[in-house]
């Protein structure tokens, strides 16, 4: 069995990243800020999926459906019951988490393959399920979400920094950033303590974990509930950021996009979902612009590339990453960094593989 290796967290790096995301909207346009807000929303959902797939080893291809649930809970509460949208975000998360918990109980009986199959079917079916109670969900049209104006204090601070008034897109960006920071912090705490160790033990060998006294059923359903909670919050924010929710906002390809994010970033990694989300969000946008809009290229080809580009690049990336870099971009960066470190510090002792400077692993404190 692999020894659990826990490197000392790099707090300065976390600080730099958070500061970067805090300051970023002051230098980019409001439109770009809303794009980055969507990337952060994906990061939250991907973090949730990562807890489920990366840490507890259960594959869900239907997390888009959980996002849809969160989005609709918020939209319905805000639209039909006139609640403040921001208040509905935690409610959406908790509701989805509860549903995820209930979903996790039958999922216990399924093998990884069957679970993948059932959740994939759920993702395909969910748009038509949403359309049915049209009075509640608005049917095909969906529900419009009123985007909130930024509060006066936030707006004046922002105005003092940039000289322009804060738009609601920028406010939504900051709301999203706040949720993302909190949820990443929670995830980091969960996975490096008892629940995380239990989940990893289950992932690597269910029987061995049970024999060591890990409550297998409990932690597997906990992973499902937590993962769905993240998806619910992400879905709620997604509705807020796009300004409406409709059944077609949550197609199967959204679930695929989440999976791409988890895999590209790196399974069972905390920075992975952020890296993965940025790749999974901006890749289709970039790849749909592969063909320059020149006059001599027929528009038909341009539109085809626009439509097919994301699918082709997603597919190629999923396959290549799984074959050549199963630990994702973060894994690649780690290996590269370690190799660079070894090079810089000298070859070390070839016999034992230890460098002279320090031991490679840091054992976990407790």
């Amino acid at each position: 069995m692999q020894r659990i290796r826990v490197a000392q967290p790099r707090y300065w790096l976390v600080g730099v990243v958070v500061l970067f995301f805090l300051g970023f909207p002051t230098v980019i346009s409001s439109f770009l800020a809303s794009e980055w807000a969507q990337a952060l929303i994906l990061a939250i959902a991907i973090m949730g999926l990562n807890i489920l797939v990366g840490y507890s080893g259960q594959l869900s291809l239907g997390h888009g459906a959980f996002m849809a649930l969160g989005a609709y809970v918020s939209a319905i509460l805000a639209h039909h019951y006139k609640m403040d949208y921001l208040v509905t975000i935690p409610i959406a998360g908790l509701t989805t988490g509860l549903v995820g918990f209930l979903f996790g109980i039958p999922a216990l009986r399924l093998s990884a393959l069957y679970l993948a199959l059932a959740t994939f079917a759920l993702a395909v079916v969910s748009p038509s399920l949403i359309k049915r109670p049209a009075g509640l969900t608005g049917g095909v049209q969906g529900i419009l979400v009123v985007q909130p104006d930024p509060p006066a204090t936030a707006s004046s601070v922002f105005a003092a920094l940039t000289g322009t008034a804060m738009t609601s897109d920028q406010w939504i960006y900051y709301v999203t950033l706040f949720c993302a920071v909190v949820l990443f912090w929670v995830a980091w705490n969960v996975v490096r303590h008892r629940p995380g160790r239990a989940m990893r033990a289950i992932r690597d060998g269910e029987v061995a974990a049970a024999a060591s006294g890990v409550n297998v059923a409990g932690f597997k359903t906990l992973a499902f509930a937590l993962s769905a909670f993240y998806a619910g919050v992400a879905g709620s924010l997604y509705g807020l950021s796009t300004g409406f929710v409709s059944p077609d906002t949550f197609p199967v390809s959204l679930s695929i996009q989440l999976l791409v994010g988890v895999v590209v970033g790196g399974l069972a990694s905390i920075p992975g979902p952020l890296v993965g989300a940025i790749s999974a969000y901006f890749l289709p946008i970039e790849s749909s612009q592969w063909v320059p809009s020149q006059a001599w290229i027929p528009t038909q080809i341009v539109t085809t590339v626009k439509n097919a580009g994301p699918a082709v690049s997603y597919g190629v990336i999923l396959i290549l990453i799984m074959i050549f870099a199963p630990n994702g971009l973060v894994g690649l960066a780690r290996t590269g960094y370690a190799a660079l470190n070894r090079r810089l510090r000298g070859a070390g002792d070839r016999e034992t593989g230890h460098t002279a400077a320090e031991s490679q692993t840091v054992s976990e404190p407790d």
Binding site: V53, G57, L59, L61, P106, R109, L110, A112, L113, Y114, A116, L117, A118, F120, A121, L122, V124, V125, S128, L129, K131, R132, V207, V252, S253, I256, L259, V263, Q300, T304, V305, N307, A308, G309, P310, A311, V312, S313, Y314, G315, V316, I317, L318, I319, M322, I323, P326
Partner: protein, 293 residues
């Protein structure tokens, strides 16, 4: 009653289509313990190839077998290029790879043929025949006949030829087969080729009913999943029986359950999958899996 029987017959026809695709899934499941999420997309791609051939003036009855051969070769190619490097990887990796493959094939089809739905010619007449008061479409009969032939051919190949025996041996006892001189890896490729061809047949039969476009198989694959799970995912006979049951069930549910109607038929497929997995995970014909820990 008459309407009921007509619904049953057309249900059997669509069931035959599901059965073919489910059989393709079962073939690959037996070969490597994997559900191929790209099966539907591969079938869709093959159907586009047939569409192109027919568009060039080739008759349907020539395009059909030519496409099957091409799909067979394509399946082998996919196995060699994409699956072979990860043959021994955990199931999670394999599932993600087949999903990537599904997305890739879908995008490539969109690349080559665009997303505008096209009508695919049916070789059968649109008329009906009066069988003792029940009007049965020639198209339904034709689909039943074609899927019957395809399924029979697979059965004969697997059960009554040396290749079939080797294929089954390699799937069930890879180590022993390797010791006896079977080239197991190539047998897996052969399994992929066969599955791809069987799936292509289902695609070419469903295309005249739906319209041909890259997302055509998205709902069909769910029904095929339901069929395979219902039959017990390792049983070829189960896939056929499951396919027929699913076909008839969704047809009847769509017509007689006002709550289901046309737009929730897919949800019936989901309900079958979830229900079977929870109540009888081994399906109708599967054996109880005994796992050694």
């Amino acid at each position: 009653m008459q309407e009921f029987l007509q619904l049953v017959v057309s249900g059997i026809a669509t069931g035959g289509i599901f059965a073919s695709l489910a059989l393709a899934l079962v073939l690959i499941y037996n070969a490597m313990g994997l559900v191929n999420f790209a099966q539907g997309e591969m079938a869709m791609f093959a159907t586009f190839v047939a569409f192109t051939l027919i568009g060039r003036g080739v008759s349907f009855w020539i395009a059909f077998p030519v496409t099957l051969v091409l799909a067979f070769a394509g399946g082998i190619l996919v196995q060699r290029v994409v699956i072979k490097p990860v043959e021994r990887a955990p199931v999670l990796t394999l599932v993600i790879i087949t999903l990537g493959l599904a997305t890739l094939v879908n995008g490539l089809a969109g690349f080559a043929w665009g997303y505008v739905p096209r009508s695919f010619p049916s070789p059968f007449s649109p008329d009906s025949i009066d069988l003792a008061g029940v009007f049965v479409g020639y198209r339904d009969l034709g689909v039943i006949a074609v899927s019957g032939i395809v399924l029979l051919a697979v059965y004969v190949l697997l059960q009554h030829t040396t290749v079939g025996l080797t294929l089954r041996a390699a799937a069930h006892h890879p180590e022993a087969s390797r010791l006896l001189g079977v080239h197991v890896s190539w047998m897996l490729a052969l399994g992929w080729g066969l599955a791809s061809a069987v799936g292509a047949a289902s695609g070419m039969m469903v295309a005249p009913i739906l319209l041909l476009e890259p997302n055509m198989m998205q709902s069909i694959i769910i029904y095929a999943f339901a069929a395979a799970v219902l039959g017990g995912i390792e049983s070829p006979l189960g896939a056929v029986v499951g396919g027929l049951i699913v076909g008839v069930t969704i047809n009847l549910a769509g017509a007689y359950l006002p709550f289901v109607g046309g737009d929730l038929q897919l949800a019936v497929g989901l309900a079958i999958i979830v229900g079977v997995l929870l109540l009888k995970p081994n399906g109708l014909f599967g054996r109880a899996a005994v796992r050694r820990v």
